[in-house]
Symmetry: C2
Subunit: 198 residues, 2 copies
DNA sequence: CTAGAAACTTGGCAATGACAAGATTGGCTA
DNA sequence: TAGCCAATCTTGTCATTGCCAAGTTTCTAG
C-alpha cells in the first residue's frame, strides 16, 4: 500500500502538510511552526499529522530531506542546460544554488542548520547535492583544467563557497541582483587560483 | 542606574540567562530552548526573564548579538597575533572563524539563520565582524597585494567563503582537523586568483 | 467477504509563552 | 533622612501546543 500516493479520507495528507509547512516557515520562521495549525489548514484533526510524522522534529527533517532532493535536482538541471565548458557549468550550478536560497531562505537555513549525523535520513539527499559540484571538479581535474590535487578537497572548498554565498543571500546580506556577479567572480577566482602551471 | 552591572535580588540575571541559554542551545538546539527552564536554573520565578527580554525571540536575538560581538573580538585578536603579511593574517582570521564555529555550532547556526533587516540590534555587531575581513582586503588592495578592483566585492567574496567553511564545520560536514588545511588553501587560492598582473 | 492494517478522530495531560497585577528593593532627591 | 519612583522580581492565570492513548472509519489483501 503505497502510503504517499493513496487517496483516503483526506487525500495525500503527508505531501500537503509538507507544502503547508514550507509555506509557514518561509512566512514566520521554523520555530513558529505549529503542527496543530498545519492540521487546521489541511482540515484534519489535530492529531492527524502524527500518522505521518511521529513528532515535530520528524516533520522538519522530512522538510530538509525534500529540500535537498529539490536542490539537487535544480543543480543538475542548471548544469545540463549550461554551455559545456567547465567554467560555464560551475557558474550555472552555483548561481542556481544562490537563486534557490534567495527563493526559499528559511528552508535553506533549516537545511544547513541541521547537524549531520550519519544515520539521518536526509544524508543521502544531501550527498547527491554536493555530488553535483564534486563531479564537475573531478571532471576538471581529469581533463586537466584544474591543477592536479585532491579532488575531494577542491570539491569541499568550492561547495563551501557556494554555501556561503547562498547563506548570505538567504539572510539578506547579499542582494540577489549582485549575487550573480559575485558567483561569476568566485568561480573564475577559483579556477584562476587552481589553473595548472603551463 | 546601570542595569547590567547591578546586583539586586538575584545579581545580574540578564547575563546569567544568556549564559544558560547558550549552554542550552548547544546541548539541545535552539528550538528546545525554554524560558521557564532557564528561570528555574537561575533560581528565579518563571516570569522573571520577562523583565530583561520581552519575549523568547528577544532573548535569541540578544544571544545572536552577543555572539557577533564575541566573534568580532576573536577575529581581531587572531589578526593581531598573526605574522604581519596579508596571507598570514587572512589565514589566521578565517581559521579563527572556523574554530569559533566548531566550538559553538548552534550559536553560529543561529547567528547566520537570523534574517538581517536594517533595524535589528545585532546589525552593528555583525558589521563589526565582517569589517575585520573587509579591512584586510582593503589593505591588500592599497598595498598592491591584490589586483585593483572593488574592495567591497572582494570582501564579500572572501567573507562568504569563510562563512561557508564555518557552517560546514558547524554542521559536521568538515572535520575540524582538516578544516585548517582547507582554510589555508582557500586563502592562497583567493590570493593567487586575484594577484595583480606583473 | 472478511480480517487486519492504515489513516484519521476524540479526549486528555503536562509544559510553555505571554500577560496582568501586585510585592520588594534600591537609589535619587527634596 | 524621609520618601518617592523606577527597576526588578513574584504570583496567578490563560490559550496554545506537542505528545500520547483509545477508539473509529476506510481501504486492501487474501
Amino acid at each position: 500500500m503505497p502510503a504517499a500516493a493513496r487517496a483516503y479520507h483526506h487525500g495525500n495528507l503527508r505531501a500537503e502538510l509538507l507544502d503547508a509547512a514550507e509555506r509557514s516557515i518561509e512566512k514566520s520562521g521554523a520555530d513558529q511552526l505549529s503542527l496543530r495549525e498545519l492540521a487546521r489548514e489541511a482540515g484534519v484533526s489535530h492529531a492527524a499529522p502524527r500518522t505521518h510524522f511521529p513528532d515535530r522534529q520528524a516533520l522538519l527533517q522530512a522538510l530538509v530531506e525534500r529540500g535537498f532532493t529539490h536542490l539537487g535536482a535544480t543543480l543538475r538541471t542548471a548544469r545540463d542546460q549550461a554551455a559545456p565548458d567547465l567554467e560555464a557549468r560551475l557558474h550555472a550550478v552555483i548561481a542556481a544554488f544562490v537563486t534557490f536560497a534567495a527563493t526559499r531562505p528559511a528552508l535553506v537555513n533549516l537545511m544547513f542548520a541541521t547537524k549531520t549525523t550519519a544515520d539521518e535520513p536526509h544524508q543521502k539527499a544531501a550527498a547527491d547535492t554536493t555530488a553535483v559540484v564534486y563531479d564537475l571538479i573531478n571532471e576538471g581535474v581529469q581533463t586537466g583544467a584544474l591543477a592536479a590535487g585532491d579532488p575531494e578537497r577542491y570539491g569541499l572548498l568550492l561547495y563551501a563557497w557556494a554555501q556561503g554565498l547562498a547563506t548570505l543571500t538567504a539572510t539578506g546580506n547579499l542582494p540577489p541582483e549582485t549575487a550573480n556577479t559575485l558567483v561569476a567572480e568566485a568561480v573564475s577566482t577559483f579556477l584562476r587560483g587552481n589553473t595548472p602551471l603551463p
